[in-house]
Point group: C2
Chain length 150, copies 2
């Protein structure tokens, strides 16, 4: 696979990023759960006070994967980088793009003095769990996510 | 309990906020896990680009509880408010301060157009789970927290 570029996302990448997010939601059988709009996404990522950022994996000019992140604040550890979504489009899986994205995000987090990185994985997603084990990541399944929608 | 004020935290509250964070860590038998410094905390909460904010519950001029929060970005829902810590000092539990803090934070999140609120609860913490059930919160225990420390 030649010509793989891992780079920071630009505003004009948002439509493709949203496509990949929707592809994942479809895979998780929850396509209707994606209610965010392209306009909101652009405003939150590239407005005055950016809330999120993303790396993209571009292969021959086409974005085939993303690692979307934002700041979190641990009251025990301080600033940590949160990996919200690591997505590689289905047809490009197994080619190492996920690893390239995650490796690059770790470099970014270290360079920017984050006290570590955090994310979540579905407890039945064995391939992903095994992938993360290679990074000597710590796993903690003692927590339940709680949400209030309004 | 008279003279309860719920208000936004100020920079000079940080020493007391950190005390409450350490009290909770001790209660969770992990006092050494708190490695964040007061200086980092102040810089992250009250610097040029604030990463976190907090409500405090003040009773007769003393801070007895906090609700510490920050922005998260859901790629499905958009901007959501994340409740990192809801702490009430042990001697003041059962007096309704936690409810006052959470109620006020919900008002804040709605006023500021967040698409909902999210947080985590330990799966064995029944009193907390029952408390959150009264808010008709949704619970999802299918996820495992993953972290890389550096």
């Amino acid at each position: 696979m030649d010509n793989v570029v891992i780079r920071a996302a630009r505003k004009e990448d948002c439509p493709r990023i949203l496509e990949l997010i929707k592809e994942l939601a479809l895979y998780e059988k929850a396509p209707d759960e994606v209610t965010v709009t392209l306009e909101e996404m652009e405003a939150c990522g590239f407005g005055e006070k950016p809330v999120w950022g993303s790396l993209v994996a571009e292969v021959n000019g086409e974005i085939l994967g993303i690692a979307l992140y934002y700041d979190r604040y641990s009251t025990w550890k301080g600033r940590r980088l949160y990996l919200e979504d690591l997505i590689v489009t289905e047809s490009a899986r197994g080619l190492g793009l996920g690893k390239k994205l995650l490796d690059e995000l770790i470099v970014y987090a270290k360079e920017n003095k984050y006290h570590g990185m955090v994310w979540q994985v579905l407890d039945w997603n064995e391939p992903a769990i095994n992938f993360y084990k290679k990074y000597n990541a710590e796993f903690d399944g003692e927590w339940v996510n709680v949400s209030l929608n309004f």
